[in-house]
Subunit: 289 residues, 2 copies
């Protein structure tokens, strides 16, 4: 692994202005952004299906970066990261580990949202010395209830959203309620706060590879979570229609060292985005306890 | 419009080795490839949904380029062409006209496949002096039967193909018959003949914009084809499940100056790809008559 091409120092500017850096991972350039204090165990953020650096909620990233070194990145073949996107969660997790090591990190915390949470579970289980603590949001275990249906659900919402000019994230991440609808619109507005040096959209083949990876994760035999020995914080909305909320309860029940955030009321897959202030407080307490 | 940045001379090398050039269209770089003789009315190829320069069948391009100057290009926001992909056929057609004029062409022939055929119809109707002759393959008129269902059909096949590791073009462009299946596999092999300097895959947002454009074309009021006064050659397989074959018959019946290639037997949306030798002969005769 080569060292980062740019200075490894973190940025004090908000996420919307954080520079995009790149690091060579076995010859492929992976892009990332880094902010927060330079000291302490870095928190690596693992993004969900179809999205890139620009899709992290700036309130969540900035809130966490007020006290932690936070690193977002595009995995192989996504956004401005080179290469061919793998079509299994396991291969994606191995790429995440290579990226973390390429940055020169020897101990990290992980925050995985949805598909990012699948990846975080594999990294945590396979790399017990690399990973200190894990936050899992809107996600579930391998073979978890309804996860193999995520690709079909996503694609239906994508087509419907396309034809109705509505971002599919509104219906996939937020409840269709008086509370959920404005929260979804506010989230989409926040994603537009960054105006310069935005990331590149995912390609159709990379999106397809991720759909296949998620479907494979959902169709695996139910995983034995006892291999994840790190402390884990599990959070979600109470009405997640993407990765049904019972998967979050299942994770919390079966992980050896888990802490469950009471499911956010009137919220779905994007519960941590809708309740970003409360989530940031809870997450920081968990990481610093 | 600015002049092409590269030499406008055509290439004698086969399509798999044709250099990718670019031309500035109102400040946005559009990429294209050009081959065949330098003389004569150029034939502009308009590609279908989701695809780029690399998706033209080399047998069709090389066959046509044996006697005609042939130009393929990526429309706005697709592959390596700059900009945001429009979500209407009309806007896409206007971009095609700007591209043609940016190349310095004042008179062209058009070959449109599927969505490319929708675009060709708009260009031909709006630019009677620019367009000399038109070839429409696997396509239909605005408001044509079943065209509004193309996005849902494509997306279902894309998801299914993703999960089964089969290229969705196999089921969308070829019949599931003893004749169609090997023809589809042979077509996919031909698309891989180009190994260097391949184009970039379409982004998910550009794919979504095209789905919206196709849906809009399918939902328009039935178009009055009498505005297309140029000679038109219409071709398709007899069993097109994407843009049902009756649309080809409808085009041939309603266009003022049309010629119908008898529908290719045991063939679907990709009939001209399955019968590439016969199609090239027929197309050249039409263009040179």
């Amino acid at each position: 692994m080569s060292a980062p091409r740019n200075s490894p120092s973190s940025s004090r500017s908000p996420y919307k202005n954080a520079p995009t850096r790149s690091v060579s991972v076995d010859g492929a350039d992976f892009v990332y952004r880094e902010l927060g204090p330079e000291e302490g165990v870095p928190l690596i953020l693992l993004i969900h299906l179809a999205e890139n650096l620009d899709n992290w909620d700036p309130r969540v990233v900035d809130g966490l970066a007020a006290r932690r070194r936070v690193i977002t990145f595009d995995n192989r073949g996504v956004g401005r990261s080179d290469g061919t996107t793998p079509d299994t969660i396991e291969a994606t997790a191995h790429d995440a580990v290579r990226f973390i090591r390429a940055l020169g990190c020897h101990r990290v915390d992980l925050l995985g949202l949805s598909m990012g949470g699948f990846i975080a579970q594999v990294v945590a289980a396979e790399e017990p010395r690399l990973v200190r603590k894990v936050i899992l949001a809107g996600t579930g275990p391998a073979g978890g209830h309804g996860i193999d249906r995520v690709p079909a659900l996503t694609v239906r919402a994508t087509v419907k959203g396309t034809l109705t000019r509505k971002d599919p994230k509104l219906s996939l991440f937020f409840t269709e309620t008086a509370g959920g609808r404005p929260a979804g619109r506010a989230f989409l507005r926040r994603l537009k706060e960054r105006t310069d040096h935005r990331d590149k959209d995912i390609s159709l083949p990379s999106f397809r590879a991720q759909l296949k990876a998620i479907n494979g994760w959902g169709r695996q035999a139910s995983s034995n979570l006892s291999g994840i020995r790190q402390p884990v914080l599990a959070a979600n909305g109470e009405s997640d229609r993407m990765v049904p909320s019972q998967n979050t309860l299942d994770l919390a029940a079966r992980l050896p060292q888990s802490e469950l955030v009471p499911l956010y009321p009137d919220a779905g897959h994007g519960g941590i985005l809708q309740y970003h202030d409360g989530f940031v407080t809870t997450a920081l307490e968990f990481l610093e306890s």
